[in-house]
């Protein structure tokens, strides 16, 4: 009785169930995994104006509702690397904190459509790894109006960079006369680390910090997150010890997230004691990733067992739902795998006010699955982003 009252109230509020502007829908699912731990059975989700208006469990499907066996929140890819390649990072200088990835976005790239159709509704785009401190990352919806303003999701500011071999890969020592900026330092891992430490030290000791140094100071204070790519154990150590050194020097407590932490599983204790989170890259085909890091499907489980906060990522090439499935293969439960691709990355990126779970008030970023999510035998058959149908299940 009560549920039918709620239903009719919801129907009345949304007017007719036929969408007028394309952002209002009713969706019926046999199961809704909310990502908060709650599971609704036989639930009706009312979407209105691009937001989740209400979720009502225990009701039958209405005639014009979209139906799916399972509905989950849209996935948040914490390292989508859609705009990858050398054009993704400003290489003329090693430390470029003021550069922001949002100004390099190409919303016409077909990669967005591919991400959206495979269920990734929000993607974290960062300057990549060809310099040391690349600049600020941005969370972007993978479908919707083709304007950066409309698609950007405001979240926690994140300063991105890389530690390891990639920042120095193209550099070489000057032979005779230096001919290009590739003849600058660093050419080694120690040079890369020195650039990081030098920029933090100089910012902390500057009498009048410039704009770039202000960003670094905020990073030291923990007001801006530090999102560092570090594949191999030695590089993860470098990032963690850097944080600890800055704290010892009295410069502040960084909020550290290791991106592409393929070997984070090897030395979890240092991640636990520094409260560092990890974004895992796609599982490699035969065990070794970039920078020779060793990674298997079990890595997510090891991080879970150590209480380390982690999210999965697809790097553009790999489907995130399959990565979640492979994490299950390595020992995560389905609920844990779901959190690792929805709520946890949303929290790490500070966008969990809008995305990351199926709850009333959040953006209508939803995936309609043709079975239990993350199985190799199922896939997203419908995707809504901000209430718009990016993949039509009908």
């Amino acid at each position: 009785m009560l549920t039918s009252l709620i239903l009719s109230a919801a129907a009345a509020a949304s007017g007719s169930s036929v969408p007028a502007d394309g952002t209002s829908w009713t969706i019926h699912a046999d199961k809704v995994y909310t990502s908060t731990g709650k599971v609704h059975e036989s639930a009706l989700i009312v979407v209105e104006g691009g937001k989740i208006r209400a979720i009502t469990p225990g009701v039958e499907a209405t005639r014009d509702a979209l139906h799916a066996p399972v509905v989950t929140a849209g996935m948040v890819d914490a390292s989508a690397r859609l705009n990858s390649g050398t054009s993704s990072v400003e290489q003329s200088s090693e430390v470029t904190p003021l550069v922001s990835a949002e100004f390099g976005l190409d919303l016409y790239s077909p990669g967005w459509g591919r991400l959206a159709r495979t269920g990734v509704t929000s993607a974290f785009i960062t300057p990549l790894n060809q310099n040391c401190v690349g600049g600020m990352g941005t969370v972007v919806k993978t479908a919707g109006d083709r304007s950066i303003k409309a698609r950007t999701v405001e979240g926690a500011p994140m300063l991105c960079g890389a530690i390891g071999s990639q920042p120095s890969q193209r550099n070489s020592s000057a032979f005779g006369r230096p001919t290009s900026f590739f003849n600058r330092r660093p050419t080694t891992r120690m040079g890369v680390e020195w650039e990081w430490r030098k920029s933090f030290f100089e910012a902390a000791q500057a009498k009048e910090p410039d704009d770039a140094q202000k960003v670094l100071l905020d990073a030291l204070a923990g007001k801006v997150g530090v999102f560092v790519q570090a594949w191999a154990t030695q590089d993860i150590r470098t990032a963690v010890f850097l944080k600890e050194e800055m704290a010892r020097e009295g410069f502040g407590e960084m909020r550290l997230v290791i991106d592409a932490g393929a070997e984070a599983w090897r030395e979890p204790a240092m991640l636990v004691r520094t409260n560092t989170s990890v974004i895992l890259p796609p599982v490699p085909a035969q065990g070794r990733t970039t920078d020779g890091a060793l990674m298997s499907v079990e890595c997510a489980r090891v991080l879970r067992d150590n209480g380390i906060s982690f999210a999965l990522s697809g790097h553009g090439a790999s489907r995130l739902d399959i990565q979640a499935g492979l994490a299950m293969r390595g020992g995560l439960t389905r609920e844990q795998a779901l959190r690792a691709v929805t709520l946890t990355p949303a929290q790490l990126l500070g966008v969990d006010g809008r995305v990351g779970s199926v709850e009333a008030g959040k953006d209508a970023d939803l995936i309609l699955w043709n079975g239990e999510p993350f199985e190799a035998t199922t896939r997203p058959v419908g995707v809504l982003i901000g209430g718009h149908l990016a993949l039509d299940p009908r």
């Binding site: 240092m270 599982v283 890091a293 079990e298 492979l326 390595g330 199985e375 190799a376 035998t377």
Partner: protein, 480 residues
């Protein structure tokens, strides 16, 4: 019988997987495998089933309550597991030296000279439950050598052999350095050359020239018995008058495989990278009478040639599940799930595994189910269809009386994302036990073989500078 593994060659994973004696092919008289579910692929799955294997062949499959287990059989009882026939790989250019020769036309080569029994591919195949593999040469060729069907177990090629001279690899797609035109010319040329050679043989015989006989003896071939007899050419594409006068043994050994191809005795696997290649392939096959013994190995783009393939009646092997096209005008990306196109057209298809350990044949079949292909057809694409392509229908790809004694025990349903291969029984012998798989242990648990340089179990985690105990850098381990 279990022997202790003291061999120092730890890098040779194949030796580490063996639960039985490493050197010889295992000889086990009778084995009974009991599992919570037995998937036979000949009918409904059997709950609480048993498979009896005697002398390396399945002699009974059925419910445990109905099948008599011989008193002297070794029983493997896994009530929590799912028994499944081994996967069948219809075509793989792996486990061999290099996939291709530089020679354009080399059907006289044989992969048996190139197969490396300890190649990682075979170890991985066993781990993934792929028990029948058709090893062929690669795609970068015009006419390549003869393949061989093997099982991924054994320390010599002879021990691994299931069916020799299983087919010849031919490519309709241009070999590196060739254009489509020169490739087509080379392909036609190979068969035209054969035809001309056979005509010349007949002419020489008429002229009383015994060049071919002398050449055969020089090449070391005996001209006795069957080899001394001549038969009319049995090619549906063309004929050679008077060929029955030629003793078969006199045919030059470099061209003899081509002769068997045109007579339909040696199957062909034809590689096509684009829909155009499919047309070229069918033309060559039609002209030379081997359409009915040809299987097409297709890159994803070839789904567009499905109607033509349907007409031909050929089976296909799909190298890749998805075709992505970018519309040049709208910029929209269009994805086609290739197996669905062939399924809907009623064309029997087999799938190929990739080099990805996490996406083996079970994964390929599971993706078919995700994209709307019924489970039975998806499973057939990795078992019974490739078995048919290889001419091994009664032997592999199903659990039935008379089949080879191969059983894979999965921890759950084979298509579930969390299921892994726990045990493999090959020809009745228990040859793989995941709990003893050292490489799995290394990768998944991070454990290292004890006593080796990479064993870090005794070390403490490096605490960083300034915190924790005195540094002792000598202990610090570089990543293995």
């Amino acid at each position: 019988m279990k022997s202790s593994l003291t061999q120092p060659l730890l890098a040779l994973g194949a030796t580490l997987l063996l639960a039985s004696s490493a050197a010889a092919a295992p000889q086990v008289d009778k084995t009974a495998v009991k599992a919570g579910t037995v998937i036979t692929l000949t009918g409904e799955a059997i709950p609480d089933g048993v498979i009896v294997i005697e002398g390396g062949r399945v002699t009974a499959v059925g419910a445990a309550s109905e099948v008599q287990i011989p008193w002297d059989a070794t029983v493997i009882d896994q009530p929590g597991m799912v028994a499944f026939p081994g996967f069948v790989e219809a075509h793989a250019a792996r486990g061999i030296d290099r996939p291709n020769e530089t020679l354009d036309v080399a059907p006289f080569l044989d992969v048996k000279d190139s197969i490396d029994p300890v190649n990682f591919y075979f170890e991985e195949a066993l781990r993934q439950g792929i028990l029948t593999i058709n090893v062929q040469q690669g795609n970068d060729t015009v006419v390549a050598g003869q393949g061989m069907v093997v099982k991924p177990f054994g320390m010599t090629v002879e021990q691994m052999m299931v069916k020799p001279r299983s087919g010849v690899k031919i490519s309709a797609a241009p070999k590196r350095g060739k254009t489509r035109a020169t490739q087509a010319q080379a392909l036609r040329g190979a068969f035209d050359d054969l035809r001309m050679y056979l005509e010349e043989m007949v002419q020489r015989k008429k002229d009383g020239d015994d060049f071919d006989r002398r050449e055969a003896l020089y090449q070391g071939r005996e001209l006795e018995g069957e080899a001394a007899k001549g038969k009319p050419l049995a090619c549906s594409g063309w004929t050679i008058d008077g060929f029955e006068r030629i003793p078969r043994g006199e045919v030059d050994e470099k061209r003899e495989p081509l002769l068997r191809i045109v007579e339909g005795k040696l199957p062909v696997i034809m590689w096509c990278a684009t829909p155009m290649d499919v047309h070229a392939a069918l033309r060559v096959a039609e002209a030379n009478g081997f359409t009915s013994t040809m299987t097409l190995a297709l890159a994803p783009a070839c789904w567009k040639a499905a109607p033509k393939i349907k007409e031909s009646g050929c089976h296909v092997i799909l190298a890749g599940l998805e075709d992505n096209e970018l519309d040049p005008i709208t910029g929209e990306s269009v994805e086609t799930f290739v197996p669905k196109v062939f399924h809907d057209a009623g064309i029997p298809f087999a799938l190929m595994s990739t080099g990805d350990s996490n996406r083996s044949l079970w994964y390929q079949a599971a993706r078919c189910v995700a994209n709307g292909i019924p489970r039975a057809d998806a499973l057939a694409a990795v078992t019974t269809t490739p078995a048919k392509i290889l001419g091994l229908t009664d032997r592999v790809g199903k659990l039935a009386k008379g089949a080879d004694g191969h059983v894979v025990l999965f921890s759950g349903d084979p298509l579930d994302i969390t299921s892994v291969v726990e045990h493999v029984i090959l020809d009745g012998a228990h040859v793989y036990d995941r709990s003893k798989d050292v490489r799995v242990k290394q990768l998944f648990d991070g454990t290292r073989p004890p006593g080796t340089a990479s064993d870090t179990s005794a070390e403490e985690e490096w605490p960083g500078d300034g915190d924790g105990p005195e540094d002792d850098d000598d202990e610090t381990e570089n990543k293995g």
